[in-house]
Amino acid sequence: MTCPVCKAIEGRGECAECRALAGELRANAEALSALRHEELPPLVVSVSRRAPVYSWVAAAAAAVLLAMALPSLRQVAIAPKHGPQSGRAGKSEPLKIKMLTPDPDVVIYWLIDSKEGE
């Protein structure tokens, strides 16, 4: 920026305005230098009033993610249901072998208990 009066760089000219500006800058520099040894007050943490809004948004996002994850969790829960529901604890599902026959209308499955397969 140039001085509109003397056309020199602002604060560096010989005109009265430049001298006045140079004086203000010098005074500012001296004031800042004086503050160099001042001890700063302890930092005060102010809690923003918007914080609860963000927490609600985070909770809603977590709920949505949970809802998206639920179907896969449900599938995992359903999977063991395919086992025999005989009420006999510890019995594993038998091995099921599908046998193809020349007759397309006859399908044969052969069940082998784990005890038999051993």
């Binding site: 949505v64 005989s86 007759d103």
Partner: protein, 179 residues
């Protein structure tokens, strides 16, 4: 904030939409259809019986021919035939006494009929248990427990060995969808 709410709403809608395909599978268009299931209980004997001939009805002749091609049992005998009917997405159970005074209990927890033709019927937790009562206890003679897919027009055989020693038990399942 409004934009964020819109995104969250859309995500929630997406999440709920993920359940739709499962619901469609469980409730196909023909939700009112009934399933008539005919189950033949057939024994396969490892040792030759007094009557050398097979004792099965003519309906099972083709099935028996295939069984003979796969297994080496000496003879086959129809023990009983039961028919049960249930709704689509429902279960059914039938129980009774067999000629040798043993007791059978046949059931499935749920039958799901597909909309395609011929219908595919998914039988969840199909179970046949044959028990024999002794003076102080109930002995399980045969137990068949599995999930099974059967197609209309086909005879699906489920076989299991080690019944009464070396013999085998065969279930011949014939599904019929009644619209």
């Amino acid at each position: 904030m409004k934009r964020l709410l819109c995104i969250l709403t859309a995500l929630a809608g997406l999440a709920s939409a993920q359940d739709k395909p499962l619901a469609l599978v469980l409730s196909p268009p023909n939700a009112t259809a009934n399933l008539e299931l005919t189950v033949y209980l057939v024994s396969g004997f490892a040792e030759a019986q007094a009557t050398a001939r097979d004792e099965v009805p003519q309906d099972l002749a083709a099935t028996l021919q295939q069984l003979r091609g796969v297994f080496a049992y000496k003879s086959y005998k129809l023990i009983d035939a039961v028919t049960l009917r249930g709704r689509n997405n429902g279960g059914s159970e039938v129980a009774g006494e067999l000629p040798d005074y043993s007791h059978y209990d046949f059931k499935y927890v749920r039958a799901r009929i597909s909309s395609e033709t011929p219908h595919l019927v998914r039988l969840d937790s199909l179970r046949l248990e044959i028990t024999r009562r002794h003076t102080d206890r109930l002995e399980t003679v045969a137990l068949v427990s599995t999930d099974l897919d059967v197609r209309e027009g086909q005879k699906t055989v489920v076989g299991k060995s080690a019944v009464n020693g070396k013999d085998a038990m065969f279930l011949v399942i014939v599904p019929k969808v009644v619209e």
